[in-house]
Amino acid sequence: MHPAPSIIAFTTFSGIGYGLLVWIGVLAPAGVLPLGRSFAAASLALALAFISVGLLSSTVHLGHPERAWRAFSQWRSSWLSREGVSAVVTYIPALLFAALWLLDDTDGLWIALGFLAAAGSIITLICTAMIYQSLKPIRQWHNPWVLPNYLMLAGMSGALWLLAMVAAFGGVPASILILTAALVLAAMGGKIAYWQSIQRGTTRSTLASATGLPAGKPLRPLDPPHTEENYLLKEMGYRIARAHAVKLHRIALALGFAVPLVTLASAPLLRGGMITALIVFAGAISATAGILIERWLFFAEATHTVALYYRGNSTAVV
């Protein structure tokens, strides 16, 4: 599948934003986070900025962005529509949560709004993942690891950015540090499991099943229907060089998980202060870069059954 920058940015940044919102919405009422107004303003502004930048970049992908509002109508059948509805609805508790916090009105209603914002974020993340996981023609997406991958990567990157915010406002609580490290390890395990799963898996469809021609005989494409690339090949016939994929997997693992784990491990040794904040911030930046590469691979390594008609049963990797 064509790795469109707008969708890579959308899923990565909105994932970070919703992950961050989940942790703020849950951990602030739990009393783990600093309760000052400046922290509230900065951390929630960062979460909503990530979310908004992500959602806006998704509209760049549209042929008619001015009609994007129409996408809220088909939530009964469409995961994309559900995601749009959920994303917009989640702004309501998130903004009210922020408003009450800034007004120092942190009572029961504020706690409830925090949980609602977290729940809305999780529902939106599930919808995003299901847009891909529900597509049968793309076996690398129609894979049970996709949903946990999206949730864990969002949770992990959100926690890393939360840690960066907390560190900037002084002190890194051990509880958040341990939570974040556990999330990074879980997300890494989930991603490796996904990569192994798509390596092992093969498509159920073959050129024989795609054409209804007898499966027992050799069957190969002879002449393409057109001499130049068309929309189908540009959008769904993307191929990634195997050597590049191997290197990019390593880079994604290093930037996305290894570097953040090192920064988390070193944070307690530095006893707070500016240096710790910078180290933790570097971990969040590295994880973001790693997830951008991971997301690029998620598209580039995905193969669509339409390629069978053009390339036969040969694998999508060159």
Partner: protein, 246 residues
Amino acid sequence: MTSIPTGQPGAKKLGLVIDLDTCVGCHACAVSCKEWNAFGQSGPLTEFAPYGVEPSGVWLNRVHTFELGEGEDGRTVYFPKNCFHCEQPECVTVCPTGASYKRADDGIVLVDPELCIGCKLCSWACPYGAREFDDDDGVMKKCTLCVDRIYDQNLPESERVPACVAACPTSARHFGDFADPDSTVSKLVAARGGVDAMPEMGYRPVSKYLPPRSVRASLAPLERNDPGTGNPFLQWIDRLLSGSRP
């Protein structure tokens, strides 16, 4: 509404039967489709750099060519492909706006270009590559089964068929109602063992393919070195050319 309409009594299931045995791969269906639909319900079908080095554009019908079998058993199969107007079209259910829909009364799958936001998700959801995005128009295009032809009372009844069917010089394409067991298409499918493309996807295509007939006329091997005529001069030439001493 992008939910699939539930089957109503008396509803038609319109689609095509494509005979892979008689198709000669002339691309007349594809060209005729392009000609008709560039100005019809789906129009325009934009072309980019049509006279340039890398021309590309929106076509709703594509003719692939495959080689089936090897050696003496081998044969070329021409494979025209356009929307199958599936009974479970996930291209419709994934649509966030309701632009993609399946008609309840005849099963035709259409895109409303006024509602389409151009998210391209339907083209990802179609296993067959039946939908092509028009970058210039910003909306998705697909086969309409020539909905603007088949019901047109101004056309003679014989012409109320999709443009691809009308154009086919070998009558490899047939149009009709699969809900009617006595229709030509239903009978053809029953008689020739019509098959679905990618049945494992569960989209339940309405349109079917008739597989190539396996029977091939057994050809007598061409006779070689036949001295034939009995003419001594020609026999001497034959021996000379065959390398044996006269």
